[in-house]
């Protein structure tokens, strides 16, 4: 038992920090650039994505191992996973619209775009590829979500400070953001030695 908990913690840390989806695999760059101008909306989108990632990992694991594998329908995994992700995003959209209309407006088009966030599909496919067990994939999804939120919030924090900086005209906006993303990725590489997984 002790060994499994250790494994789970390793997976959590690996997914969120050392193999951060955004900064190491370069998945989900679109919302990373698009929603990282304010910490508040970054946290909002991060939470929404974490929720979708965790539940998506759980549900797709069940579907993969209890429907697709027994019926030999593994070739349908992309379709099946996308259905799960799309429905989850729709659900999250409803919840956010109900709970916080302000956040709903702030996220705008990026909320429905979680559906096409490749980080989430990537997560479910990694899960299959690495043959995670049920609990492992849940933790993997949670870790990936936390990692995504972390990257987004760190970036938003930097960009908020950036408003006061004297940036060369040509780099204003997306240009400096991409450069920053590169630096952030370099910084995250420093975690690489902690665990190799």
């Amino acid at each position: 038992m002790g060994r499994t908990i250790e494994e789970l913690i390793l997976i959590l840390i690996a997914a969120s920090i050392t193999n951060n989806f955004v900064l190491t695999y370069f998945l989900g760059i679109c919302p990373f650039i698009g929603v990282s101008n304010k910490i508040e909306s970054a946290v909002g989108l991060g939470m929404a994505t974490t929720f979708v990632m965790t539940i998506a990992a759980t549900v797709t694991w069940l579907i993969y191992y209890y429907i697709l594998v027994p019926f030999k329908l593994v070739f349908l995994q992309y379709v099946a996973f996308i259905i799960v992700i799309a429905s989850l995003v729709q659900f999250v959209e409803m919840v956010i619209k109900k709970v916080s209309p302000a956040l709903y407006r702030a996220l705008g088009i990026y909320l429905p775009l979680i559906t096409t966030n490749c980080a989430i599909l990537g997560l479910t496919l990694f899960m299959v590829l690495r043959e995670y067990a049920f609990l492992e994939s849940v933790v993997f999804g949670l870790g990936a979500g936390i990692g995504f939120t972390l990257a987004l919030v760190v970036m938003a924090g930097i960009r908020e400070e950036l408003d006061f900086a004297d940036i060369p005209e040509a780099l204003k906006g997306t240009g400096i953001t991409l450069i920053l993303a590169g630096m952030l990725a370099l910084a995250f590489m420093g975690f690489g030695g902690i665990i190799s997984r």
């Binding site: 349908l76 659900f91 409803m94």
Partner: protein, 265 residues
């Protein structure tokens, strides 16, 4: 296997659809039914030309903040009339804003003091001491305003922007683009709109020297105009549009201007 794939996919889809349907019922947000109604009239293309995120956002602002539905550029006349009818705004006169160009100097009137070889935009030229033009208030004629016009309603002719009133939507982008603030946006309430086509704050002597069509702040329009329509401040005459009366009278005043700088649209 084919059957299995069909059934498993259909089953999953049905399951998620029913879950979402259930969630929709539970989480339905009570919304002003007027918004849905207004949205029904809008074109649903979500083009963003009105300045809002999508048609729904625009509809919300129409209902809550009384935003002008005319900002939608896509709607046809008929649909617009129906929407205005629904909002109870039919028959109400709509006054679109039009840009007024406060400079009348064509190429022949622009006196050069230097030869400008820089980037051929107003923004750049204005930084470089104004394109070598003597007048530091007038139009430099590179046409930044014509460039930003999204509706092809503004063209440079003889070194001055000319507005095509039929195409102009009154978005005001040209006024923002002009580095010298020569263009102002004005509601066209009256049949005729009179304006002083000059922006100079120089004194009469200097204006006489450098421009044949400048306002010399002689004050004739202020003295003659009914109800103080024109007023000279800081060496420049400006019209106060809250006071425009009979346009025949104003036209007479405009005719008295010694440099003929009061124009009408």
């Amino acid at each position: 296997m084919m059957l299995a794939s069909i059934f498993s996919m259909a089953g999953m889809a049905a399951l998620f659809a029913s879950l979402l349907g259930f969630a929709d019922k539970k989480l339905k947000v009570e919304e002003d039914p007027k918004i849905a109604e207004v949205l029904g009239h809008l074109p649903h293309v979500n083009c963003g030309a009105c300045g809002y995120v999508n048609c729904h956002d625009f509809a919300e602002h129409i209902v809550k903040d009384g935003e002008d539905p005319a900002k939608c550029r896509v709607m046809g006349e008929e649909a617009m009339e129906q929407l205005l009818k629904f909002l109870g705004k039919e028959g109400e006169e709509r006054h679109p804003k039009i840009p007024l160009v406060h400079c009348a100097a064509e190429w022949k009137d622009k006196k050069p003091v230097a030869d400008y070889k820089g980037v051929r935009t107003c923004g750049a030229a204005n930084l470089a001491f104004g394109a070598g033009m003597e007048c530091e208030y007038g139009c430099m004629g590179f046409g930044d305003c014509a460039l930003v016009c999204p509706f092809d309603a503004l063209h440079m002719e003889n070194g001055l922007p000319v507005v095509d009133q039929k195409k102009c939507t009154g978005c005001g982008k040209c006024a923002e683009a002009c580095p010298r603030g020569i263009i102002s946006m004005q509601e066209k309430k009256n049949e005729k709109l009179f304006y002083v086509a000059c922006s100079t704050h120089d004194g009469a002597v200097r204006v006489r020297q450098i421009c044949a069509v400048g306002c010399i702040a002689c004050g004739i329009c202020e003295k003659l105009s009914p109800e103080g329509f024109f007023k000279v401040t800081d060496n420049l005459s400006r019209a106060d549009y809250s006071k425009q009366g009979d346009h025949e009278k104003v036209r007479k005043v405009a005719g008295k201007c010694p440099t003929k700088v009061i124009k009408e649209i």
